[in-house]
Structure formats: structure tokens, C-alpha cells
Amino acid sequence: MTTPMLEIRNLHARIEEREILKGVNLVVPRGEVHAIMGRNGSGKSTLSYVLAGKEDYEVTEGEVLLDGVNILDMDPAERASAGLFLAFQYPIEIPGVATMTFLKAALNAQRKARGEGELSTPDFMRAVKESGKALSIDSDMLKRALNVGFSGGEKKRAEILQMALLKPKMCVLDETDSGLDIDALKVVSEGVNALRDADRAMLVITHYQRLLDHIVPDVVHVFSSGRIVESGDKSLALELEAKGYAGFDEQAA
């Protein structure tokens, strides 16, 4: 059996004494796209932050293997260079840091960590232009400070642009669909689909079936009170849409 791209074993995590993740088990094989759906506050973003290595959370139990390697001891930058990417539910605005400067720093840092040389400026510009075009990101936006003054939808698009440039092995998308208009949802989904690959896996957190019409998942998981309570094929998302979460809460209790 080949190593899964992501394997989460009995993951428990807390913040300020409060346990949020209560034994998450999840296997995402390479090449697959898994969706996570669940109520507000059930811990989906927490899971994504814990995967990415946010300091505020304390992992009290469990393991996270990225392509077979335990990443829990790595800092966020090391995890990123190991191939993990989190598209934030709420991308952070960073005044004074030009978007292009940031993109170049990120790309070159990851190349360096992997022992590759720096990308030349023309090559870098070309790569950004191409990815930007595919996501209908206008170049004026890239001249501004990182995420500053970007609309909600522009921020989400910028996240996918970063993903396209960094070419991670494991993509975690936290509500990338929220804040997108109908056309943008299509553009972003196409951007994501273009990155589907036999050597890449994705975990897509969403509230809406609508996104999963565009990014068709191999597996859908239901998240409730800090763990996965049900998994199934894409029809599970339809069932959730029809019935809501009520039926699944029981199983969590």
C-alpha cells in the first residue's frame, strides 16, 4: 500500500484549557480530494490551524503524518516546505508588505528548504502572471500590500494563487468558497481542479454542496464536536444539505 498523503491519528488539541479536537482520525490518500462539512464551531478551522502549526493550539495526543513524516514537531514554515498548504478561511492583511515581495519570499524560501536554487525574477514574474491570469486576478491587485484592501473574494482568489505557485503536496482549503460570487466560485474551483493531481491531495472544508458540484470530492466527512463522525461518498453532502446536521450529532455524543 502506498503511503497516504495525510494521515491523522487520534488527534486531540486544545486552546486555553478548552479541548476542541477530540480524537480526529482521517486518512487522505494521494490523488484524492476529501471534503469536511460540519456545524459552525465544530472545530474545522481548528483542525486546519493545528495541521498548519499555529502556536495557540496545544496538541495533547495523536499524530499527524504528511506523506509518512510526522509534522507535529515542525514549525509552520517547515511544514509548508514539507508540502502542506492552508488556504485560510480569513486571510490576514499585512500592511507594508507588497504582495509580490511576499510571493517571491515564500517561493524562494521553499525552494531553498528543498535544496533548489532561487527562481530568477523574470521566471518568477512569468509564473505569477500565468497563475494570476487563470484566476482572473488583475495585476494591479498584486501591486498592493498583501491582502490589504482586497475584497473578500479577492482574498480567496489570492490564496489559490499562492497555492498554484507553491505547488504543495497537501492542500487544506478552509471555506475557500465563502465570500465568492457565482462566477468567482467557478473560477476558483477551476483553479483548484487544475491542481488536482495523482501526487497531490486536498482537504476541502465547506458548508455548501455548491462548491462540491465544482470540486467533486472522493470522500465526504462529517465533522461534529471535534471529530469525524461519518464518512461517505459525495452523496453524503447531498444528504447533509437535505437533512442538516441533527442526525449526526447523536453519533458524536
Binding site: 498548519a52 502549526g53 499555529k54 502556536e55 495557540d56 514549525d75 509552520p76 514554515a77 511544514r79 509548508a80 516546505s81 498548504f85 492552508l86 485560510f88 486571510p91 490576514i92 499585512i94 500592511p95 507594508g96 508588505v97 515581495t101 511576499f102 519570499a105 515564500a106 524560501a109 521553499q110 528548504a113 500590500a145 499562492q162 507553491l166
Partner: protein
């Protein structure tokens, strides 16, 4: 008189120097008042009596010069060494260089102003006209063994002229006490950028007083950077004397362990329809202290003054201290004036975001610090100058 002030070695040296320079009136005044302590409002956070333990001998002739602290490609170089203006190369078009005797600053009840005015014999004088092309750099050096070096420059920028002036302060690695003065007058509609960068030795004490007078329509941008001396203080006195005059008065304190830096501004909006946007930033690490005091005075006649003062601090350690004191003194009624200040550490969420893209921690921190400073450095349009200032900041960030 009242209770006599107990005089320390610094004061006694200064009194002797003033007497030696024939300024016995000033000597007596200093003997009576002593150096300002925290009780004097404008020195509240920079108590000279405590900070100035000793004052070395007045500087003699500079023997040899250390390498320039900051080079800007294409700049026209002028030098003041140990307080004395030096011969300079052929001046570019629109630039007349000379000297002027006596004090350059307006009379003020401020000990550093008084000392400078009493002790400087010959000041550098520059007249700028038309659109002056190269950056004018006044390279102020204090060389040789530890010395007390007062120096001064008087700069006139003609009507409709434009210029970029850079002043740098550096010298030998000794416990100098320097006291610099610049008087800069902007003619009608003149457009001037004036940047002062302290790169003195770590043991030095650096004082500077910059006085600006803006005629009608004049546009000024200033940037003070403290990145050298153990103790540094720059006192800015912008005066808005003509309708439509505007100044972006900006400054940056960069302090590391053991250092103390102070930017104090007294802005005087004297006539109607003038505006200013003072913006001061401080970054402190280790056990250090940065001070920003900003006072906006709006005269009774100065209706329609538009002035917004902002002070921001970034603390890179728990022991760092950043003190900001804004003050508004408004005598006119139809004005838009305000102030604000923020102080904090690097934003954890921002740091996490950058790191989550693979940028290692120290690099991410550098990006954020540069981001914090971008507002000050970005407006400097001259590419070589912008690059040189960025290098100063990066050099500081990289350690020291």
C-alpha cells in the same frame, strides 16, 4: 536666588567651555539652572542630568576621517568635520556653498539650542535654487578621541526650488557628545526632502536640533533616523509661516539593548491654511527606550489648520520601553487636528500567516518589521537614497 543646583561633571565641563568661548552669560545661566531634568517638560523622558554623565573637551581639528557611514550613489558631498565646514568639490547647478558666522537657530529657551548657538563659530551655509538634481549630502563627522562637537548648517531653498538633502552623523569609535543644528528655510512652493540619519558610534551621545520655516505653498518631507548613538535625541521645530505650507514630518527610533532614543517635535502652525502629518515610529529590542514627543501648536489666527499626529511603536522584547506623548495646543477654533498612538509587538497572526507559506521565522519577522517601516521609507523617491536607507534599516535588523 533659590536653592543652588548641584552641578555634575558634565555641567562643569560645559560651563568651562562656554566661559572659554566668551559666552559667560550662557555659562552663568547653565550654572544656575543646571542641565534639564525630568521636571522640564520637553526633557521629561530624556533627563539630561542623568543621561549626560560627562562631556569631553571641545573638538580640535579633525585628523583624518573615518570611512563614510552612508554612501548614496550620485550625491553631492559636503562635510563638517569636528564642527568645521570643509572644502567641497565643484557645486552642481543651483547650489551655492559657503559659510556663515554665528548661530543658525532661532533663540529658544532650550539648553541644546543655547549651547549650539554659543559654541558654533562657523556654520555651513547652502543656498539651493531651481530643481537641484543630485542629493545633497552633509556628512557630519566627529573624529579622533572623544570630543564635544557642536556643528551647524543653514540652508536656504529658493522659491519654487526643489531639493533632497541628506545629513549623516558618524565618526570615530569614541564617546563623543555631538550637538548639531540645522536651520532649513523653504521659499514659496519649494519642495524639499530632508533626511537626517544618526550613525554615530555606539558609545556616542548625539543631539540634533532641526528648525524648519515653510513659506507659502512649501512642501516638506523630513525623516529622522536614530540608528547609532547610545543616547540620541533630535528636536524638530517646523514652523508653518505661509498659507498652503505642508510638511510630512516623520521619524524613526531604532534602539537596541542599552540605548535611548528620543524624537521630540514642536510644530508651530502660525498662519491659516497649513497642514502637517507627523508620523513617528519606534522599534525597540533588548532593554532599551524609545521616546516620541509630538506637540502641535496652532495659533489663534491659524484657522483651517489640518494636522494629524501619529506615533507607533513596535516592541521586539519584553524589556523594551516605548513612550509616546502627543500634545495638542490649539488656539484657533476652525481646525482639524488629532493625534493617535499605538504600541505593540509583532502580530502573531501575521507571523503565522507568513510562516505558513514557508517563510522561516526570522525572515518573516524581518518582512513584518519592514512592512511596519514602509510608510516612512517608501515615500523617498530617489532610488539610490531609498536603497541606502533600506540598508540602514536592514543593517540594524541584522544585529549590531
Amino acid at each position: 536666588m533659590n536653592v543652588p543646583v548641584r552641578l555634575g561633571p558634565a555641567e562643569l565641563s560645559l560651563i568651562a567651555q562656554l566661559t572659554g568661548a566668551g559666552a559667560s552669560g550662557e555659562a552663568e545661566r547653565l550654572a544656575a539652572a543646571g542641565l534639564p531634568t525630568r521636571k522640564v517638560e520637553s526633557y521629561h523622558y530624556t533627563d539630561l542630568k542623568t543621561l549626560l554623565r560627562a562631556v569631553p573637551e571641545l573638538a580640535g581639528k579633525a585628523e583624518g576621517v573615518s570611512p563614510p557611514a552612508l554612501r548614496v550613489a550620485g550625491a553631492y558631498q559636503l562635510m563638517i568635520a569636528n564642527g568645521v565646514p570643509q572644502e567641497s568639490g565643484t557645486a552642481p547647478a543651483g547650489v551655492i556653498v559657503g559659510t556663515v558666522e554665528g548661530s543658525v537657530l532661532s533663540t529658544r529657551d532650550d539648553v541644546l539650542v543655547r549651547l549650539n548657538s554659543a559654541l558654533v563659530k562657523t556654520a555651513l551655509r547652502i543656498d539651493l535654487d531651481g530643481s537641484v538634481d543630485p542629493v545633497i549630502q552633509i556628512d557630519r563627522r566627529t573624529e579622533g578621541p572623544a570630543a564635544h562637537a557642536p556643528s551647524a548648517a543653514k540652508i536656504y531653498v529658493g522659491d519654487n526650488a526643489s531639493a533632497v538633502i541628506l545629513e549623516t552623523y558618524s565618526g570615530s569609535d569614541a564617546a563623543h557628545v555631538t550637538n548639531h543644528a540645522t536651520y532649513l528655510a523653504l521659499g514659496k512652493n519649494a519642495v524639499v526632502t530632508h533626511i537626517t540619519v544618526d550613525l554615530s558610534a555606539r558609545q556616542a551621545t548625539h543631539f540634533a536640533t532641526n528648525e524648519y520655516v515653510l513659506a507659502e505653498g512649501a512642501q516638506l518631507r523630513t525623516l529622522v533616523i536614530h540608528a547609532g548613538a547610545n543616547v540620541s535625541r533630535t528636536h524638530l521645530f517646523p514652523k508653518f509661516a505661509g498659507k498652503g505650507a505642508h510638511a510630512d514630518v516623520t521619524g524613526l527610533n531604532l534602539v537596541s539593548d542599552g540605548q535611548h532614543a528620543d524624537i521630540t517635535m514642536d510644530a508651530n502652525h502660525a498662519v491659516p491654511h497649513t497642514s502637517s502629518k507627523p508620523l513617528f515610529k519606534s522599534i525597540a529590542r533588548g532593554r532599551s527606550k524609545a521616546v516620541v514627543q509630538g506637540r502641535l501648536v496652532v495659533a489663534r489666527d491659524a484657522q483651517k489648520t489640518d494636522a494629524k499626529l501619529m506615533a507607533q511603536g513596535l516592541m521586539l522584547s519584553d524589556e523594551a520601553e516605548i513612550l509616546c506623548k502627543p500634545e495638542l495646543e490649539i488656539y484657533a477654533d476652525d481646525v482639524v487636528c488629532g493625534h493617535g498612538s499605538t504600541c505593540g509587538q509583532l502580530d502573531e497572526d501575521s507571523l503565522f500567516y507568513l510562516m505558513s507559506r514557508g517563510i522561516p521565522k526570522t525572515e518573516a519577522e524581518t518582512l513584518l518589521v519592514r512592512g511596519f517601516l514602509a510608510e516612512l521609507i517608501d515615500p523617498i523617491e530617489d532610488a539610490a537614497l531609498n536603497e541606502a536607507l533600506t540598508a540602514v534599516v536592514d543593517g540594524w535588523l541584522a544585529g549590531k
